[in-house]
Amino acid sequence: MYSKKILLLYLLIFNLFFIFQISSFAQTNTIKGKVVDADNQPVFAANVYSSSFPNKGTTTDFDGFFLLPSFTYPDTLLVSYIGYKTYKIYLEKSLDKDSIFIILKGQENVLNQMVITARNPISEEFSVIKLEKMDIYTNPIAAGDPLKAITALPSSTNTDESANPVLRGSSSDRSRVVLNGVPIYKPVRNGQINGLGNFSLFNAEMIDKQYVYASNPPLTYGNTSAGLIEIQTNHELIYNHVQASVSLANIGGLISRKLGENTFIQAYGNYQFPDAFLKVNEKRIENLIDFTTKDAGLNFHSNLTNKSSINSFSYFIDESYIATRNSYAYEGQNDAQKNRFFSINNYSLKEENYNFKINTLLDFSKQDYNFGNLSSQIENMQSYVSLDYKYLLLKSTSIQTGISYDYSKYNFNDSLPEYYYANSPKDPNYFYKHQSENTNIEAYLYSNWNINDELTMSSGFRSNIPTKNQEYYLSTQMSFNYKPNKKNNFILSGGRYHSYSTPSFIDANYFLLQSLQFALDYSYSTKKVLFTTAVYHKYETGNFQDSETITFDKAKITGFEVFVKHNLSKKIEYSLSNTFINQQVRINEKYQKGSNQLNYFIKASLTYSNPKLFTAALFYIDRPGTYFTSIDNGIFRDETNAYEPVFNSTIYNQQLNSYKNLSLNINRFFPFGKYALVVYASVNNILDRKNEQNALYSFDYQTQYFNNFQRRTFYMGLVWQLNK
């Protein structure tokens, strides 16, 4: 009996013990597991703990594994690490499996959203080059001018020393410069002031960013059939700033001032005068006799709320110059004067997932030009309004849509030569009064899709809404950006584009121009090396007025560019680029080489920058001369009492000599506490080479000689700054 009872008691105790054991095992256990992120990469140093004992946790190892020794069920298991949402799981009882696999989700990427709704253009990834203010100041050729900075790029194929953008072999009138969302037609000054040629209308101190689309301009903008330069003025002011400058040909002042937390203004003015510059460079500038320019700009920016802002930029310029000019057998003075005023006003609203902008432009100009029996008075008015709406559709997709209204009017009051070759004041002329206007209304849709981290695709459609007798057109484009890693970047783009020509006294009409373009751009960048290359093909149609006597209607351009920039050391940097352009134009139903056929176009720079001593940049350009049609003979005409030129029967039969230009810019920065002084000097065409600009002839066309680009010229100046 006893033994039975003892046995039962024993069994009972054993069972109780066993049950207790089991239940106690069920309550406290070790948890093993692995923590990874959304890309299945192990998360190191994540905290793993229970909600009841947050201080008795553990951390994951390098491979994401953890072992939490004592976890008492039921409880909540938490895993946390910076940059991720804290993972929580309520565990009622021991896990069935050996270990737990945890995927940490990233926190809402607030930074990505910022990018989407920020002011950067939707097409940013498809711009070949982005220049910031510092890039303009440190550019070896720019002399602080935003558009001059572009001429150092291999995609810039200017052959005329002007700041007007000429991109990838297309004429400058096919490319557009857009400032704060509105087009600025003819964005350069007339006068050749500095030894480096024409300057643009823009001031680097006002500029925040500048995007260059060398070909395939994004269809968020219209009226371009070549490339696009998109410039944005400052949206914030880093510091108050006063600047005064004086140079051989200019005195100027600039003031940047914050007006409270959310508002600032920038104002500047310049007066350019000829005396000192022409005196120093006497005899080296063949044509320029006199010039005067006055200009002033005012930019006002205000953040109305956290989400909305307004910007207003107004600019006025009054310029005049007198230069010697040759036209056929006549040599005389040309006298040019121009006033221009434009005002760009913008409103921008940024919400979490959309962005809305209104951009407006009013642009007036009046110019007088007198030369021989030619007298031209042109008044121009441009007005532009666009509405843009950018929407973040999905995390990876954004779309932008909008409409633009672009009105342009020209009034010509000209006295033009009766005979194109008879230009002296006594030669007959006729009065020509003409008004041309064009209303260009377009609507567009542009989408940008980040397929994955490496691949982005964009597509765009832009169509006109024809007014008057305009023909209907649809511009389309598609682009891919492939970025396999941080160093390599490929952009493949193609599309069809449309623009209108800008009227001039040679032809006062608006012609519709078209182009079909394909381009592949590649870049490789590291801290020390930037290598870019591009290959492209363009097929352009429309009316091309090359001169009074040559018109062509189609052009094929195939180009290849290669560029390398290398920081040899902290102080020394060099760059080297070459561009090849095969330009075929159709004249009288037959294709032949164009004037800008360039078998090479070398640009090289060497920069030494040592803030304690000085910064010096050498820049060298070497390219073949452009082609022109020579005049071989003259026939005397009684009605004009002058010789009429007889052109060679082969168009573009002769070539100017090859163009070589070595220039040097040198500057030194002297800081004095709140003040700073920048002293600079430049020499253009150091080798004093006679680079032929165009052919000139004796009165009977029996002798040919050449007009040259600027010979060796010197320029210098200083800038005084006060920052406070």
């Binding site: 990469q41 390098f62 940059g83 926190q107 914050k258 700073a676 920052n723």
Partner: protein, 225 residues
């Protein structure tokens, strides 16, 4: 990697005493080898932090060229890092801010803008990250008034000292910034001759960090005020 921040600091102190930075370089070699094997951003973070201390070492031993090289290396590591978190941005901003002393006057305002932008990213990604505020404050504090500095530091430092050292407690993660924020706040009040506030934050600081050399140094300036 446990208590790595303290290890780096202790190594730095010892190198300052011996005037040889071999120990810092050895530590860097170890981290480099570790990162080769385990591709973790956190290892890169501490490598950058180590470069920062190496730069301070060179600066203190009058070798500006190497100081600049070290800080540039630290900045490069962080700039190249993918998927940066709040701590990475905060450290990047601090290193950039430190690098300004080596850069020419023309570039300084642009670097200052980068510092501000990165520190703001750090704040956006984690509003409780004390280092995000400290770095912004420090940038403002050391930006000369003529460049618009000295206006926001006080507010940012007050925010910094109100936050915990770490939003996620971990011996692997950084905890710097709060001690420095107390020091800078006290200095700021001393400079402005606001003695009551200076004493208040000195007291709070020294209570939170009784062994702090940088805070305790300020005591002499407060005596008799």
């Amino acid at each position: 990697m446990v208590n790595i921040q303290k290890k780096i600091y202790d190594t730095f102190v010892s190198t300052m005493m011996t005037q040889k930075n071999q120990a810092l370089l050895d530590l860097n070699d170890q981290l480099t080898a570790l990162h080769k094997e385990k591709k973790q951003n956190l290892i890169l973070y501490w490598q950058s932090y180590l470069h920062y201390y190496n730069a301070i070492y060179h600066l203190k031993t009058q070798d500006k060229d190497n100081a600049e090289k070290q800080i540039d290396k630290g900045i490069e590591l962080l700039e190249d890092m993918e998927n940066k978190n709040s701590e990475d941005y905060a450290l990047l901003a601090m290193l950039q801010s430190f690098s300004m002393q080596f850069k020419s006057g023309v570039k300084a305002p642009f670097i200052s803008k980068n510092v501000e932008s990165n520190a703001q990213k750090a704040e956006k990604l984690d509003a409780k990250n004390v280092r995000a505020y400290y770095v912004q404050a420090s940038n403002d504090y050391y930006t000369p008034e003529q460049y618009g500095g000295g206006k926001k530091a006080e507010k940012l430092l007050l925010k910094a000292v109100s936050l915990p050292e770490q939003s996620i407690k971990s011996p692997y993660l950084p905890s710097w910034g709060k001690e420095e924020a107390y020091e800078m706040l006290t200095k700021l009040y001393i400079k402005a001759e606001k003695w009551e506030e200076a004493k208040k934050y000195y007291q709070e600081g020294i209570e939170a960090y009784p062994n702090s050399y940088v805070i305790s140094q300020l005591a002499t300036k407060l005596v008799g005020k």
